[in-house]
Subunit: 220 residues, 2 copies
DNA sequence: TACACTATGCTGCACAATGCAGTAATGTCA
DNA sequence: TGACATTACTGCATTGTGCAGCATAGTGTA
């Protein structure tokens, strides 16, 4: 066991952005582990997608660090862990806001497949774009429906609606951009006789010239 | 040691998307480990951002699986590992193209901070947006310059220019969208008297209504 | 009423991936 | 000749994922 003085020096240890995300949820109200995983997957998915497994582990770490406390609740023969933020936790959260924001990270396997499309068929490439579209459409539709529910007063924390809506604006704009790009890409690829060795075609040169002047070939 | 027959059943084991990304690079030409990390970080960063550490490990795994072979090259007192794809590697790559494309994954810490901006100051929120803008601007500028270099014949694999340029169209479109959203968000937040408890203001309701109809409040 | 199926509510384990420190040789400029 | 950047990696601790497993509670249905 360590002295308190030593402990406080180690406090920041092990606190990842994911830890702060969970801590921020606990700042809203106490949650059970299960609720935390569900809530984090629904509301944070688009800003900070993390696995259920991690979301079960984070609150335990917060308790170890003294940023949360926990107790077991019983309903019948079954128990669940309830987590609650501590004053130290609130302090840690406040300090976090003044640290440097991590750069964004965008992983799109469909783009990787596009980059290496020349050792596959056009069909494979089209299918990959279809799959990307499918995934984006799903998220897009979900967030549009969420906004409709907010209009009916469906926000779980009504006083925080202004934040959620500004956040949703980002999502919808990104999704629309990706959907428009997919259509554009399909039209381009449809003109290709093959995926291989086309190089700098006249059409590609036109696009390159636009991009080099920081313009986009996408209509609207 | 396992029999060949058993080995081949285990072949797919341990092959991640990152493994296929490196294998696809090896399909273009043989590289040294160091070149592979540099090339992957420069060209794949925006589709599949992976650490240098991983990019050193992947080719070793490919050799173990029989998808690549390696030899040491000496220049003076110093050696480096050269990796080359095998026929089995090419086969594995071909099979990969017919598998399901992974859904995209977008991590933006600045959005997480926006979502929880109500336990911080407006200044913190503005700073977070500035930091996001800084990161995006950097990437945006880099890719515009890359396109200019392609016009001068600077593509390392000229016959693949059509793929790189279609890929770059995606990047530039996304970057422009994010930059426009940041400006929009700044204007909105500037109108807020505080970050807390504003809830469904008339302005927020207008935006929510637009989003629920799958429209965007962003001009242009 | 028995049965299946879904939702709740987790934990353990193997493995994927990151970040950082460390090591060592070569090239470059002042 | 000395400092510093670049080339060329490896080891290790820690973060994060995916899957399997386990147990209870509720819900529909034949």
């Amino acid at each position: 066991m360590l002295h308190n003085a030593v402990m406080s020096n180690l406090m920041a240890q092990g606190m990842t952005t994911s830890s702060y995300a969970v801590l921020a949820l606990l700042d809203l109200k106490p949650w059970t582990g299960y609720e935390l995983t569900q809530q984090a997957q629904r509301s944070l998915r688009y800003a900070w997608p993390k696995s259920e497994r991690l979301l079960y582990s984070e609150p335990k770490k917060l308790v170890e660090l003294g940023y949360a406390k926990t107790h077991k609740e019983l309903s019948g023969n079954r128990s669940r862990n309830v987590y609650e933020i501590t004053p130290e936790g609130r302090e840690a959260l406040a300090k976090w806001t003044s640290t440097r924001t991590q750069p964004p990270r965008i992983e799109v396997e469909a783009l990787l497949r596009l980059l290496f499309a020349d050792h596959g068929s056009s069909e494979d490439l089209f299918r990959s774009l279809d799959e990307l579209e499918e995934d984006i459409n799903e998220h897009h539709q979900a967030i549009v429906e969420l906004m409709a529910s907010y209009l009916g007063g469906g926000h779980p924390f009504p006083q925080r609606t202004h934040l959620s809506v500004l956040f949703a604006t980002f999502q919808i704009d990104i999704f629309k951009t990706i959907e428009r790009w997919i259509e554009f890409a399909r039209d381009e690829i449809a003109e290709w006789p093959t995926t291989q060795d086309l190089g700098m075609t006249p059409r590609t040169e036109t696009i390159t010239r636009l991009l080099a002047n920081d313009q986009t070939p996408l209509n609207k």
